[in-house]
Symmetry: C2
Subunit: 197 residues, 2 copies
């Protein structure tokens, strides 16, 4: 079992979420999607914005690296505008959607909307139209997503990420507590999880 | 041709410098070693220390990641104490050593002393004893390393790194200006350089 931690606004989480399911199947490792919020974690490091905006050279490099990376994976890619997108509502809806068994598909669809189609994923209308792709009651999920229970769960999930030592996304954590950071470490994380099965 | 940029104090430059020569041979790509100083570049980003010391969670992760990485490569690994080590003198000596044709070997030996043997690479005695492993006049190289000409060259090399958009080490730059950051990108950088040959 491998926990896959991501923030919907995180650039490198896009190739990671598109790659994780087939690679996990091949490695015969179960994967649990754990959306969380990078905002509070970045804040505790002294940033009130994405480090890719705070550090200009790093940001310029990241956009070019994403272009190359997505081209190599045959993934369509557009720079979100503005960057970063607001990821709070998408994360809350994802938690509600997991309860209905459509969470993983919803998460992938949000990343596709954001990084392939240039959509505003902080917009409730965009998220509702994504939900409509799936066999669910979008209104009921949206309502649940705004409930105190889901808000508390998302806060708890974000606190757990910090406790696990997560400082960026994507991150992968095995059942024995090994942390792997970044899309580049997905294969290694799966291999570790498979060994400890 | 691929330029390999590194700072002697940089942790991920250790696996990179140990891997680059055989991989470059296999890819039939010439590699030029370009030591520079991360200090001024970090300073321009607002850090007066390694980001691995500034950001605790990131630092804790990096040490564990280095352990796993080096174990996988069968590279001996010890955490330098203190970290980061002073890399200025080693970088100046490297520039002088390149002129004598022993630069690449000297650079590898410095990283081995630092990350495998726990030596203090800011210590002139340590660096002199490394030079003595090679067919050279250590005293003459040390003297040249402290000349104004070498000091100017190292400053120019560090300015060039910043101009190329380098914000961390190791970094790889192809002749057509593509920048790749991190030990993880070595294979991709070589493939890019080979394609543009």
């Amino acid at each position: 079992m491998l926990d896959f931690w991501f923030d919907f606004a995180s650039t490198y989480s896009y190739p990671a979420i598109m790659r994780v399911a087939p690679l996990a199947r091949e490695a015969r490792v179960g994967v649990r999607f754990r959306p969380f919020l990078l905002g509070p974690i970045f804040k505790s490091q002294g940033w009130d914005n994405s480090p890719f905006n705070v550090y200009e050279a790093k940001g310029r490099y990241m956009w070019r690296d994403m272009e190359r990376l997505c081209a190599g994976l045959d993934l369509p890619f557009r720079k979100p505008d503005p960057f970063p997108q607001h990821s709070l509502l998408a994360a809350r809806i994802a938690l509600a959607a997991f309860d209905d068994g459509i969470g993983d598909d919803f998460c992938r669809a949000v990343f596709r909307a954001e990084f392939a189609e240039g959509k505003q994923i902080g917009d409730v209308g965009v998220l509702e139209s994504i939900l409509r792709e799936f066999n669910c009651d979008p209104r009921a999920i949206l309502e649940r997503a705004q409930s105190g229970e889901i808000k508390t769960r998302l806060r708890a999930q974000t606190d757990e990420a910090a406790r696990l030592g997560i400082f960026g996304a994507p991150a992968f954590v095995t059942t024995d507590g090994e942390l792997f950071w970044g899309n580049d470490r997905l294969e290694q994380a799966l291999a570790w999880a498979a060994r400890k099965r």
